[in-house]
Assembly symmetry: C2
Homo-oligomer: 136 residues x 2
């Protein structure tokens, strides 16, 4: 969790702002690229996006998920105060929204898994897919 040097650059600001603006979703590199490069004068290279996302992911500021039936990873900004390693996440396969399962039942669930299935869940990399209320 050691905070490394963190230059503030225009490109990084653009990427981070996109992530913050879409904090309810888990977005792909393509999403970011397409959005940022619609402003033709201010473009960001894919490599830069990958590297910065990787950095943010290591610092715990975004969650990285590699899932669904493409081989594409998606990334989601998380509020610094959210303890995302303590609860699971549910992603709507229709609209892409990601919900935090941060309720008391989560603890019960983890305990059950641990006691009855002898399995220690790693929330950070797990993702539950399904359909949200609005999309039904």
């Amino acid at each position: 969790m050691g905070r490394t040097t963190n230059y503030s650059t225009e490109k990084r600001t653009m990427i981070l702002e996109y992530l913050k603006a879409h904090k309810d979703e888990s977005v792909s590199v393509k999403d970011i690229e397409n959005s940022l490069n619609s402003n033709l004068d201010k473009s960001v290279n894919v490599t830069t996006i990958y590297r910065y996302l990787d950095k943010l992911s290591n610092e715990g500021q975004v969650l990285k998920h590699t899932s669904e039936n493409g081989s594409k990873s998606t990334y989601q900004y998380i509020n610094p105060d959210k303890l995302c390693h303590n609860h699971l996440h549910m992603k709507c396969t229709s609209c892409g929204k990601v919900m935090h399962m941060d309720c008391s039942f989560m603890d019960e669930f983890m305990r059950h898994i641990f006691v009855h299935h002898k399995f220690t869940i790693e929330c950070k990399t797990s993702m539950i897919y399904g359909v949200c209320n609005e999309c039904k």
Copy 2:
């Protein structure tokens, strides 16, 4: 679920037997390829493996998962009598073993998610990662 024509060929038998022999794990195409092609006289092409896995996946005979921090998919054979769309699965990131969470608590969990989070889980594509008892 409509059963399509299903030719029985030597290659398919080889692949299916490998899957059955590793039904506790979710295996990659590379795994299958490497294993089958250690018999130098009887080799199977990667394309064939992909196409057959795709077919089996559509028929519901294997679960396809695209996860973890590589962009690799893994596949797991499931017994025809297992109702894998009714429960979640837990995969050990260390040994690759996949456990079926088919217990009564699962229903309770699904109900909680549905009632309190207004979210309908799709078990087939979801995967919970963590570490199993033996690997701890």
